[in-house]
Symmetry: C2
Subunit: 159 residues, 2 copies
């Protein structure tokens, strides 16, 4: 049970843009900062643009920026848009072959569990992911020392 | 984001055994009832045996049965044992390459969401999955009409 790389990268792009509010960022620098392929990130940025989370300024000196304040971007909503597959079990799929579907309570129970999960994710915004801006800011200048040493312990409390 | 087929099949085996308490069932009949390969089900049954959920009676006329009453088998505990991968994002993995790990609050938030999900799953037992035994019982005789017609609407209320 894991989120797609697409969701993971979408959140990383949003965090990158949220950690630097005074300038535009390019796909190339985000790709370099996170060591992710540019072509993959272009799809991610396209989807985030369609979802209204980021804006693109075209032309020389152009780039990406958040379309809203970090505290207005809800983590649960982002994941709902970027995650393509919520078929928690085979019986969730349109073409399920399970012989006991319709007589089984598992889908209802899994749906309740999924709702509980998103209730938590809907309680956090991008601003909560950026609680340690001092540690994330070096990424803006592509100083990639973060994460290469011992893990720090950020304070991740609910707002 | 989906459960593994292994978890899905484990729950189906438990439901099959829970729907018929008066006799032993064989891997072959469960495989036929659910149209799942026998070799796959043997691994599932082995793991369920190791977890203490089912018992195997060997020899002629032998087979499988639940090791506990359905109301003693907690859905969340089963899924914890059968699901091998809870690395919700890449940063959960031992060999994560994320450049901002240690400075990012996403793991803490995803962990909280996962806990909320299991809090729901821990509130249900196998007995809750068997709320419509009348509809599930025909499986015991391999009457496979269930699920091939219009979906019924079982009553899946929390106990």
């Amino acid at each position: 049970m894991r989120l797609s790389a697409f969701s993971d990268y979408s959140l990383r792009v949003l965090m990158y843009l949220g950690a630097q509010t005074n300038r535009l960022a390019t796909i190339a620098e985000i790709a370099a900062a996170h060591d992710i392929s540019k072509s993959h990130l272009m799809k991610v940025a396209h989807q985030l643009g369609r979802g209204g989370y980021i804006e693109t300024v075209r032309g020389k000196g152009g780039g990406l920026r958040l379309a809203h304040e970090p505290q207005e971007i809800v983590v649960g909503e982002v994941i709902r848009q970027t995650e393509s597959d919520f078929t928690l079990a085979e019986c969730f799929a349109d073409k399920s072959t399970c012989r006991i579907q319709g007589a089984c309570c598992l889908p209802a129970i899994l749906n309740e569990a999924l709702k509980a999960m998103f209730l938590v994710l809907d309680g956090y915004t991008l601003a909560d992911l950026l609680r340690t801006p001092g540690k994330l800011m070096p990424l803006a200048g592509c100083d990639l020392t973060i994460g290469q040493g011992k893990k720090a312990a950020p304070t991740c409390m609910r707002s």
